[in-house]
Assembly symmetry: C2
């Protein structure tokens, strides 16, 4: 700029103090919904290590990539994934235009809400539900339908809007990482476009920082208007071994922090935390949210059909992943509780 | 924070002046490698309109998405795409491990540098070159090979490193947009992982802001080390109608600014600039770099095999896209020239 300034040393010191005061929060202000104890301490110690300039453990801000699973990690996933409930409601809404559905599986079970009938249809049936409820429309039409559903629907057990069934301690963790110059991404088995409808408002995660299962799509000028049309073909199942692929495809950097809650997150945790060589001594953090709180949320792990946590739980001690015990480690679960 | 400060009003005024001086550059400091005239004026007027708080034309920062093609828009693309030169050099480097290549097309032509022979093989031959040169290795191995090549190779005509054949006026445009709180993305027909090797250093564009043609990949633990392996299957050709799909997939927001130079960018320009309805009055900007400078760079458009600009040039006046005349509108082409 060529701009010269003479600043009184006293003022310079004052300015420095103000800047420090506004960026360095006191330890007790951090993660207030986490109970004091080893889980909270481990997170704070890791963030302290990677942000400490001059230390061997320091990681430059551009490389502070953190990835979070969504279902069961940022919001609840019981009795079934919320996006499946959206799909079923959408099948019901579209049923009048498809009279043949009332005699055809899996639509017949979807319309009547027969979960056992749906399960009997297996993955094949599920893909038909996804195709019928999620494709053949434009991107804007799909986003509008998801937005309307999220605004109007309530959870069958809690009666809450789904977007209020997010975990307050995890919202604080997202904020804490961002305050320490992490880039925070969602990496979910759920649909990327469903997530993008609420991720920015609810989690502060911008659309371009959402990675999820992805359908093929195509572009066209429809009556002269540019539209993206969603096709009934899968581009990426962003689950299990698909998660590191989604990270590679969308982020192009290996995270230094990953959080999940099920075996669907196992490979993301491995990809994030296992050193690439003996020279790779960069600090890395793996976190597993364990659902241990039948009273405030749900309790499930090794035997659950949704969010099964088994192999990742076995690997956690060996890999040094932090297993968060929801009941013990979290002061509150949902916001405003 | 509960922190109270008493600041001398004179100091407050000084601080305000310093802050303003460092963020609001004077008009003549902006885009210095662009000659004064209608092209530069149009860009500055657009940025002024979308950043003017309170105006109807105002666009909030999170929605200020700008997308740039790479080949022919940010760096040169003649005599052929630089990534193709990388692919051919890599075929030559790998040839000793594949003695059968010396008698098999398209490898025979690739090894001898016979461009006519390569052309005769068409798209089929090209895909074999891509598969042999770009797949079957891990993501890290591929990035290392591309990095080494970019560091060691020189352009056959200018003798410059490829990363110095970027357009200084466009680098200034990227910076100018970022200074005005735009998010700048590359959306290229070139390979996403090739681009990511140099985009951050050369363009200031982070890996997660690069969209490009994408191969399938898979994750594995190889001898206990997590790796991404590049597969010989295309996930996305990020060119022509694929560009809006790449934008939808990676960014999840419609840009308000797009820049390209060829018919490969036509659909991205349409997607960015055509209003979705009569109520959609948001300002939008389409920019085409026209290669008119045989002396300082290259001159080509409607008849060129590489970077053909024909249909998009015909549409430009009707759509209101700015056609930048490289020879007339740019004071310099390459940095340091």
């Amino acid at each position: 700029m060529g701009l010269k300034l003479r600043v009184n040393p006293g003022i310079a010191a004052l300015l420095t103090a103000v800047l420090l005061a506004s960026t360095v929060a006191r330890a007790e202000d951090v993660l207030p919904s986490w109970r004091e104890g080893p889980a909270r301490d481990a997170i704070i110690a890791f963030v302290g290590a990677v942000t400490k300039e001059g230390a061997d453990s320091y990681v430059p801000p551009v490389e502070r990539v953190a990835t979070f699973d969504n279902d069961g990690t940022l919001w609840s996933e019981q009795p079934v994934y919320f996006q499946l409930l959206f799909a079923l409601d959408r099948i019901r809404a579209l049923a009048p235009q498809h009279p043949e559905w009332k005699d055809t599986e899996p639509f017949k079970s979807a319309i009547s809400g027969d979960m056992e009938g749906l399960k009997a249809g297996g993955m094949d049936g599920l893909m038909k539900i996804v195709a019928a409820s999620h494709t053949g429309v434009t991107a804007d039409e799909f986003a509008a339908a998801a937005r309307t559903w999220l605004g109007a629907s309530r959870h069958p057990q809690t009666g809450k809007p789904y977007t209020e069934m997010v975990y307050q301690p995890m919202l604080e963790l997202l904020d804490y990482l961002r305050a320490n110059e992490f880039s925070v991404f969602i990496v979910s088995g759920g649909g990327i476009d469903f997530l993008r409808v609420f991720a920015e408002e609810v989690y502060g995660v911008a659309p371009e920082q959402v990675v999820g299962s992805t359908l093929e799509a195509h572009f066209e000028l429809r009556d002269g208007i540019p539209v993206i049309v969603r096709d009934a073909k899968v581009s990426l199942i962003d689950d299990k071994a698909g998660k590191p692929v989604g990270i590679y495809r969308h982020i192009g950097r290996r995270p230094i922090f990953a959080a999940g809650n099920s075996d669907g997150d196992l490979q993301m945790l491995q990809y994030t935390t296992i050193p690439r060589s003996s020279a790779d001594t960069r600090p890395r953090f793996g976190l597993i949210v364990r659902h241990t709180d039948a009273e405030r949320e749900y309790a499930y792990d090794r035997q659950s059909a949704i969010g099964k946590l088994d192999q990742a739980l076995d690997e956690a001690p060996r890999r040094g992943w932090l297993v968060v015990d929801m009941k013990k480690d979290w002061r509150t679960v949902y916001p405003g509780a």
